[in-house]
C-alpha cells in the first residue's frame, strides 16, 4: 500500500515538450511510472519517447484514461493548467512550476474543491511511491521500498533526509514534497491523515520549515488523531525575520512562524524534533522501539 500514486497511476504530463517536461518525463518513465500522455497545445499527433501528445488534457483523458497530471508549464500559466486538468476530470494534480502568483492559487482552490481534485504544489518536487511510481523531479535512486511515510516542504532537504533514512534501512511507503508556497494544495494534516489510514505505513517523518503555522496545526492533529509515531525536523532556526529564504512561504514576521514555536508545538505533541538531519533515523528507531 501507499498513498496517492501507485501502479494504477496513469500520468499525463502538461508541458511535456518543454525542457524540464521532456527531461523528467524520461526519468519518470525510466522509473516505471505509467506515463500515458503528454499535453502541448498545437502538437497533437506527435509522440515523445513513444508517449502520445495531445492539444488538451480533455483529449488526453478521453484517449488514454489518464487519472493523474503533472504540470511543468511556466508559472504564469500554471493556474490555467491546473484548472484545465481539474475540469477534464483528473483527480490528482501535481504542480512543479515555481513562482506561481499567490492570488492565482487562491482563485484555483475553490474550483478544485468543487471538482474533487487533489493538488500537490505548486513549487514542489512531486512525490514517489518507491517501486511503483515516481511523479515528480525527485532523484529516484535514493528511495527504497519500506514502511515510512514522508512529508516535506523542501526539495533538496528531502533528498538529504530520505537518503539518510534509506541508508539506515528505513524504506518508504510514499514520499511527498508539498512545496514551499504560502498557498498550496495538500498540506501536512491532509497527508498525515492519509498515512494514518494507510495500513502499510508504520511511522511518519515530517520536514517543516519557518513561516506560517502548518507545523503547529500538524502538531495538534498528531496529538489528537494519530496513533502512528511521527518524527520531525524544522529548517530555518537561524533565519532572520521578514526575509524570504528562497521559498515564498518561508518568511517569518510578526512573531509567528518561527522555528522555536514550531519545535515547541511538536514537543508538546510528543513528537521528537531532530537537531540535525542525521538525528532523524536515530529518533525514528527509538520511537519505533518505544524508547521515547
Amino acid at each position: 500500500m501507499s498513498i496517492l500514486v501507485n501502479k494504477d497511476t496513469k500520468l499525463v504530463v502538461q508541458g511535456i515538450t518543454g525542457r524540464d517536461g521532456k527531461f523528467h518525463t524520461g526519468k519518470m518513465k525510466e522509473y516505471g511510472t505509467n506515463v500515458v500522455a503528454g499535453v502541448s497545445p498545437g502538437k497533437e499527433g506527435e509522440t515523445l519517447d513513444g508517449i502520445p501528445v495531445f492539444n488538451s488534457v480533455a483529449h488526453a483523458v478521453q484517449y488514454t484514461g489518464a487519472n493523474t497530471s503533472i504540470i511543468f508549464v511556466p508559472a504564469a500559466f500554471a493556474a490555467d493548467a491546473i484548472l484545465e486538468a481539474s475540469e477534464a476530470g483528473i483527480k490528482l494534480v501535481i504542480a512543479i512550476s515555481e513562482g506561481v502568483p499567490i492570488q492565482d492559487m487562491i482563485r484555483v482552490t475553490p474550483i478544485l474543491k468543487m471538482n474533487g481534485t487533489l493538488l500537490i504544489g505548486p513549487n514542489c518536487p512531486g512525490l514517489i511511491t518507491p517501486g511503483e511510481a515516481l511523479v515528480g523531479i525527485l532523484p529516484a535512486m535514493i528511495f527504497k521500498e519500506g514502511n515510512i511515510g514522508f512529508i516535506s516542504r523542501s526539495g533538496t532537504l528531502t533528498y538529504e533526509v530520505v537518503n539518510l533514512l534509506s541508508l539506515n534501512d528505513f524504506g518508504q511507503t510514499t514520499c511527498v514534497g508539498i512545496g514551499g508556497d504560502p498557498v498550496a494544495g495538500l498540506y501536512f494534516i491532509d497527508l498525515l491523515e492519509m498515512f494514518e489510514n494507510d495500513p502499510e505505513t508504520k511511522a511518519v517523518v515530517l520536514i517543516g520549515e519557518i513561516g506560517g503555522d502548518a507545523e503547529e496545526q500538524a502538531a495538534r492533529f498528531i496529538a489528537e488523531k494519530m496513533t502512528k509515531p511521527v518524527v520531525a525536523f524544522i529548517a530555518g532556526q537561524t533565519a532572520p525575520p521578514g526575509k524570504r529564504m528562497g521559498h515564498a512561504g518561508a518568511i517569518i514576521s510578526s512573531g509567528a512562524g518561527t522555528a522555536a514555536e514550531k519545535i515547541a508545538a511538536f514537543n508538546k505533541a510528543g513528537v521528537p524534533v531532530a537537531k540535525e538531519p542525521s538525528e532523524i533515523p536515530v529518533l525514528l528507531r527509538q520511537k519505533l522501539e518505544g524508547k521515547i
Partner: protein, 377 residues
Amino acid sequence: MKIHEYQARQIFRDYGIPVPDGVLCYTVYEVEKAAREMNRMVVVKAQVLAGGRGKAGGVKLARTAEDAKAAAKQILGMDIKGLIVEKVLVTEAVDIEKEFYVGLINDRNTKSITLMVSAEGGVEIEEVAKNNPEKIIKFSINPLTGLLDYQARNVAMELFGNIKLAQKAASIFMKLYKLYIETDSTLAEINPLVLTTGNEILAIDGKMNFDDNALFRQPKILAMRELDEEELQEIAANEKGLAYIKLDGNIGCMVNGAGLAMATMDMIKLYGGSPANFLDIGGSSNPQKVIDAMNILLSDKNVKAVMINIFGGITRCDDVAKGLIKALEIIMTDIPIVVRLSGTNAEEGLALLKQTGLPTVSSMSEAAQMAIELSKR
C-alpha cells in the same frame, strides 16, 4: 515587495479612497514651503520601509510652518531601524473623532483573502491580535465572488453601528479589495482609517506589500520598487539564478536548494559557528552559476571559510565539481573551502576535486564542523 506610505496613498487615491492632501519632501525647505501653502496644522511623517515610525519619533504634528520646519530638521536624516530617513510626507492634519483599522491579507489557512477590521485603530494590528484578539473582526472572502457589497456593509456595520457611516466605510472596503486584486497585493492596510469630527471617513496611513511572484504582470507596481544595498545584491543574485541573503556571520555557505540551505545555516549554528549568508544555487549545475556564487560569497569580507554543501539529485555532483574547479582557476582566494558532495555522481565529483587539494567530506555535519574549525585559523 514593499512600498512607502506615500506610494500606498497614491494607489488609494487612484482607486477613489479618500486620503488627506499631502506633499512628498526631500528637504527642510520643501517641508516649510509645503506647510506654509497648506496653511493649517500638518503632520510630518518619515518615509522609510519600516513599521513603528511613530514610536521612533518619525511622525510629528506641526501647528505652524515654523514647527513643520523644526520637525523636518529632526526627522530628515534620522535612523529608524537601521534605515536613514531621506524623505518625509507633509499631510494635512485632520480632527479625529475615532480611529479604526482595515486590512486585507492572504490567509494561508483558509486559502482566501481575509478582510480584517478593528475599532482599535492607530496601533499595530499585531499588538491588538496579541492583547485583544476579540477586538478584530475577520471575514474570509470567497475567491469566486470576491467581496460583495452587502458583506462589506455588514462588516462595516459591526464596526460603526450606524448605517450612514457603514455605507461610507463599506465603499472604502470595496475599493481596497479591488486594488488588492488588481495589484496582486499580499497586504493592504489602512491604519488608521479615521472618522473625523465632520463625520468624514478618511485613510490617514497606508501600508501595502506585493507578491514578488506576480511582479511580472504588475509593471506599475514594479516601477515603485525602491531597493537598499542589500536588496540590490539579492536581486543581482536572482538574475543569475541564485537566491542570496546576507547575514552577519563569517562562514559562507553555498548550497543547492532552499530547505537544505536553511538546514546548513542551522547546522553551522548548532556546532557553534555563525553563517555569513543564505545562498541557494538552485537545481542546475551550470559551472557559471558556481563561479557567480563564489564571487558573491567572497565579496563579503567577513567570510573566513566557505562551506559548499551539495546534495545531488537532478544536479550532478561531478558537474558542480567541474564548475568549482573552473571557478577556483578564475577566482584566486586563500579563504579555506570545505566541500561536501553527496547523491548523484558524488564519487565522480569527489575524485575530480582531489586534484584541487580542497578538503572534501561526505556528511553535512562533518563539513560544518570542519568549516568552523578552518574559520578560526
